[in-house]
Symmetry: C2
Subunit: 189 residues, 2 copies
């Protein structure tokens, strides 16, 4: 079975016709480590599904790169603000590993919404889940010390330390690399 269809079953089951129409419109693309899925200034016209690999969204602030999210296997990926508004993206999306994604254009997905109520429902449900995740992350972040943020993260995503450079994790947590390095040292002992 198609890996995207397989994953969508976790949210809402589609009937076979809708599944087929969707599958036909999904294009597989492979990328190498350090490739960009999207560069700042371009409009994000696609909705992606990351089958294998890892990536990050980051923007520049005072000459430093701020990674504000990571994507791993089975995550839906897009530069949301740009995708929805059609405006140029402020963020870059870059691969951290050799990766495989499935892509569908906004135009095609919108057409599928018109043709299949249930596909729009599926996306509505996916939005709900992603909204809750974002909200949770937000509430968890505030009022925590750097050390708490770190331990929370390795509980939630223990693999992240092996797969992502320290500097990217530290900006994701909103602390400096030096502080994260010290915390990690404490933690290991």
């Amino acid at each position: 079975m198609h890996p995207v269809i397989q994953h969508l079953k976790n949210y809402y089951p589609l009937n076979p016709t809708a599944e087929n129409m969707l599958t036909e419109r999904l294009a597989s693309i492979t990328f190498s480590k350090n490739d960009f899925l999207l560069k700042k200034g371009r409009v994000c016209q696609h909705f992606y599904f990351l089958e294998k690999g890892a990536l990050r969204g980051f923007y520049e602030l005072d000459g430093k790169e701020i990674t504000h999210w990571f994507g791993f296997e089975n995550n839906f990926i897009t530069s949301f603000h740009s995708y929805i508004t059609g405006q140029p993206s402020i963020e870059n999306i870059q691969f951290l590993e050799d990766s495989t994604v499935w892509a569908i254009s906004k135009k095609e997905l919108t057409e599928l919404f018109d043709a299949f109520h249930e596909i729009e429902r599926l996306v509505r449900i996916i939005y709900e889940q992603y909204y809750m995740q974002l909200e949770e992350r937000y509430v968890n972040a505030q009022f925590k010390t750097a050390a708490e943020l770190y331990t929370d993260l390795i509980h939630r995503a223990p693999h992240i330390l092996q797969r992502v450079p320290l500097g990217q994790i530290s900006s994701y947590l909103g602390i400096t690399q030096e502080t994260l390095s010290r915390i990690r040292k404490q933690h290991a002992q």
Copy 2:
């Protein structure tokens, strides 16, 4: 025209039949200042529209109340996590002023999704807007000093200082009341 229908036109226009079916299911409720729309531990079974007034969502942390969002006129309101998952809410929702809300139950809204594709589309579009807002708030919050958070807030919502106690604003910004008081003093001079 019904105030909810009026506001929905900003997102996606409904046909008259859908408008009527929706309007019939909306119940108007008035509350007084300090009333609770939802108390911690209860399941949020409704989706609300705040026609007039103001409210806040808050939770307890170390014996202190942390206000993590505000709602004003024309905002959609619910305890999202509880509403979606059906689990007891961690947060309270309390009115800051005498208010008027329109309510629809989750059951009825779900039935409307089944009956009218376009109502589900409307909600999908509303989710997109609210997701972007949350994302924006998140990115803006990190890496800002307390003073920057304050000036950003009064630009975005200048009315908030008149309508909301300082202690609630400070926890919303993730700083102490003392710090906000000092910043505000600096700012005024």
